[in-house]
């Protein structure tokens, strides 16, 4: 009896799992191949609702959208957007089953090859001609996609988004060496000629402000521990011009030299040294590597942490400081010398690896046409302007000289209510923008994000920002960076050219080495004295050797070298 029951259960289970297998491997048919022409100009746009899986940012919620920008998109392309928010788990089951949305934005290149091999993504090679703006603005990214995000056929399956074909100063969400301007002035506005100068400055600031208004102890330097490798970066990565890559290695952005953990030029070792010295001076928060980022941010808001490295973190805090009559945080630059080739500009000819747009192969021609209209729109200057500034004709217009500007009403409304642009849908759809946020428009001098242009900014400068500009002899704060002689370009392309899939043993040893370093670095930084620091560092290096570091490191060194060579070849 027992055996029979087991047998029945097994049979049922097998039948079920067979059907499961069949339906999951049966995705390969679909459209592509022969392409019907899209509707030509002047013809009525077909109304199509597209399901889009993308990062909803901080304003959108899933479902059908009806904000001013969505209405504008509908008017221009006939597309009604039905959004679904990005989620890692959801992405992984989608890739495993091939159940893609009409338009899906994938955030990991490693997911692309399986999607292509299971036939889940549509071939865009023939369709792309209907999105001329992509070809025009992002030629290199298409070439890249066909070579690195495709199979042997060299077809176009993926559109890497947020492309930035030419190096432009990073005007939004900068990294920097942020301290409060009044604190800096109070400390005697010292020049930062070395990291020791920076530590001196921070120490002075903490000495001047040992407690917050409510009597809590302050720390000049703090940190958090829940961002993995990203927890160990600081303003040094900007000013030393170093970019971190997997395995806690780094490369110099100016001469592209690779530094591993046995090399003191390594970004993370430079960071550890800096933090160690901060701790020696008693200006490092003892909870630096215990707290999570949200705790760090809360301390920053409470005024218990006196310096930080991300602009987005202090935007809100600066507003509050200004409202209460205080000065906000500003980026205090390191000396304009060869040692500090600051990362000022950014270029992303192949877009960002977290923004890979694919189209489901289940879309019929009608949907494909709509998708191409949408893609063409988000890659166009007009589309990009609409996404970051709100719809044309409502918030901005093009004047007689062909220059885009906010309308008078917008400027007035924005001054009265700083959230006005946001109510018009500005910056809602950055999750699907084709061109990067801070990119020059076709005039080559002005950002298409109108809030970044100096004419707009100059009008809105606060008192402390005016003082800051006067001190450095510039018009707007960004010029402190752009007028620098020693600067380097952060090229996102190298990251894109590193392999996206690693052999299993490499990816596993990477995981364990990174976990080991994440755990060891705080201990190293908290060393009691230089001697202990040196001993600990030697121990870490010794242990790394037993963790297959040499093989794994050689793999990444080679991969980076290849990326550089390939880049030169591709861009020729």
């Amino acid at each position: 009896m027992k055996r029979k029951v087991i047998a029945i259960v097994l049979v049922v289970a097998m039948i079920m799992s067979l059907t499961a297998c069949r339906s999951s491997s049966n995705q390969s048919k679909g459209s592509s191949g022969n392409v019907a022409p899209t509707t030509s100009e002047g013809e009525e746009l077909e109304d199509v609702t597209l399901n889009v899986f993308m990062d909803l940012g901080s304003t959108l919620s899933s479902g059908i959208q009806s904000d001013p920008v969505a209405e504008y998109i509908k008017e221009k392309t006939g597309v009604t957007l039905n959004l679904e928010g990005f989620d890692n788990q959801k992405e992984s089951v989608m890739v495993a089953s091939g159940d893609l949305y009409d338009v899906t934005i994938i955030d990991q290149p490693a997911y692309i090859p399986p999607l292509i091999s299971s036939g889940s993504v549509a071939d865009l090679s023939d369709w792309i001609q209907y999105a001329p703006n992509v070809t025009e603005s992002s030629q290199a990214s298409l070439k890249y996609s066909k070579e690195f995000l495709s199979d042997e056929s060299g077809k176009l399956f993926v559109l890497p988004m947020r492309t930035k074909a030419e190096a432009v100063p990073s005007a939004r969400d900068m990294d920097g060496n942020f301290v409060r301007w009044d604190h800096y002035v109070e400390a005697g506005s010292p020049a930062i000629n070395s990291i020791d100068d920076l530590l001196d400055l921070l120490e002075t600031i903490q000495k001047n402000h040992p407690e917050t208004d409510s009597g809590q102890k302050t720390y000049a330097v703090s940190q958090w521990s829940d961002w993995g490798r990203g927890s160990f970066e600081s303003q040094l990565s900007k000013y030393l011009g170093k970019t971190g890559i997997p395995l806690f290695s780094s490369y110099d952005t100016d001469d592209l030299e690779y530094h591993d953990l046995f090399d003191d030029e390594n970004l993370y070792l430079a960071y550890a040294k800096y933090m160690f010295n901060a701790n020696q001076r008693g200006i490092l928060d003892p909870e630096a590597f215990i707290q999570r980022h949200e705790d760090y941010n809360a301390k920053l808001q409470d005024g218990r942490v006196l310096s930080t490295m991300y602009q987005w973190e202090i935007n809100g805090i600066n507003n509050e400081l200004v409202n209460s009559g205080k000065a906000g945080f500003v980026d205090i630059p390191f000396a304009d010398t060869k040692e500090y080739p600051a990362k000022i500009k950014c270029v992303a000819p192949f877009g960002y690896r977290q923004r890979l747009l694919v189209v489901s192969s289940k879309c019929d021609d009608k949907k494909m046409r709509a998708i191409m209209r949408l893609i063409d729109f988000v890659y166009s200057e007009k589309g990009a302007r609409t996404i970051v500034n709100g719809p044309e004709g409502i918030t901005w217009e093009i004047d007689d000289k062909g220059v885009a500007n906010f309308t008078e009403e917008t400027l007035k409304a924005q001054r009265a209510d700083p959230t006005y642009l946001s109510t018009q849908g500005a910056k809602y759809y950055q999750g699907i923008i084709g061109l990067d946020y801070d990119l020059y428009d076709s005039t080559g001098k002005r950002f298409y994000d109108l809030t970044l242009n100096s004419d707009y900014i100059k009008d809105a400068l606060n008192d402390y920002e005016k003082e800051y500009c006067k001190f450095y002899g510039i018009d707007v704060p960004l010029d402190v960076m752009t007028e620098r002689k020693n600067q380097s370009v952060d090229n996102r392309a190298y990251e894109m050219l590193m392999p996206s899939e690693h052999p299993t043993d490499i990816s596993r040893s990477t995981t364990s080495i990174e976990a080991y370093m994440e755990q060891q670095l705080p201990g190293l930084i908290m060393s009691k004295n230089q001697e202990e620091y040196d001993v600990k560092l030697a121990e870490i290096r010794e242990k790394l050797k037993s963790m297959d570091y040499d093989t794994t490191n050689a793999y990444y060194r080679e991969a980076f070298k290849n990326a550089v060579v390939t880049y030169d070849k591709l861009m020729k």
């Binding site: 289970a13 297998c21 091999s117 299971s118 102890k217 521990s225 899939e501 596993r508 364990s512």
Partner: protein, 307 residues
Amino acid sequence: MEVAKRSKKRRYLTKGQLVLLGMTLPSILLITVFCYLPMSGWIYSFFDYRIGYKLSNSEFVGLANFRYAFGDTYVLKVIGNTLIISFLGMLNLPIACAIAILLSEVRFSKFRRAVQTVITLPNFISWVIVYSIAFALFSTDGLITSLIASITGQAPTATLLSNPATAKLFMVGLNIWKSAGYSSIIFFASITGIDPELYDAAKVDGAGRWHQIKFITVPSLLPTLMVLAIIQVGFILNNGFEQFYCFVNPVIRDQIEVLDYYVYRLGMLQNDVPLSTAVSMCKTFVSVVLVFSVNKLAKKINGQSVI
């Protein structure tokens, strides 16, 4: 299945059996479909499978994934942590039971009800928020830390959040705080089911409160306690990863890293499906073996098998 049932019907089954089977099989079918069917995914653990690829395109690697998961000496420490935290966590049951017994002896029914409601509250607070509150209470500027500092007159060197020596106990304590009240619901229900005549008879015999608890309440709760304990033994390798994901930091990580978090870090975070599958497969085997061994043991001692 139909055929099998019908042929059985003709030969062996009585009407009563048929009715019982009819009431049983739908549930069994549900378990089969929703719990056992997805088990086919265990096959991933023997392949170098990557998300999205077909199994037929993946290389068969035998036990390599198991070897990787359990080959590291660090995993021994992780398993050690898991066992210690789980064993201490089993205190949850006797505590929940004691709460239920003692609380039902309290005479003031409004107070009793209020406590009964409030002790279930922690269960509804997610770990992320428990962490936020713990940080507000126990970090260097936290309410409790500064309270202790003002009593003792010295600043603490390490807080509960960052003291490796007490990290495990802190995790266990939080876990019991969060779940004991909720688990006590079961015992409240079981106490309700005790025949009041038993108490009346005991009272007539002059048994005091303590005797009533000892000779009536506790023995009546024992079967439930036993069966829950055996179930929990099976969960000895499962601590969930959420709590540890929220509370982990580099200072105490090697003290509180448990198997579930380890797998999350190695497997899920890196999309290493074969690895996490291999570990959960082993966990299931361990659970089943443990549950049936303990059950056998209970049978030897008690003369009656629980499961």
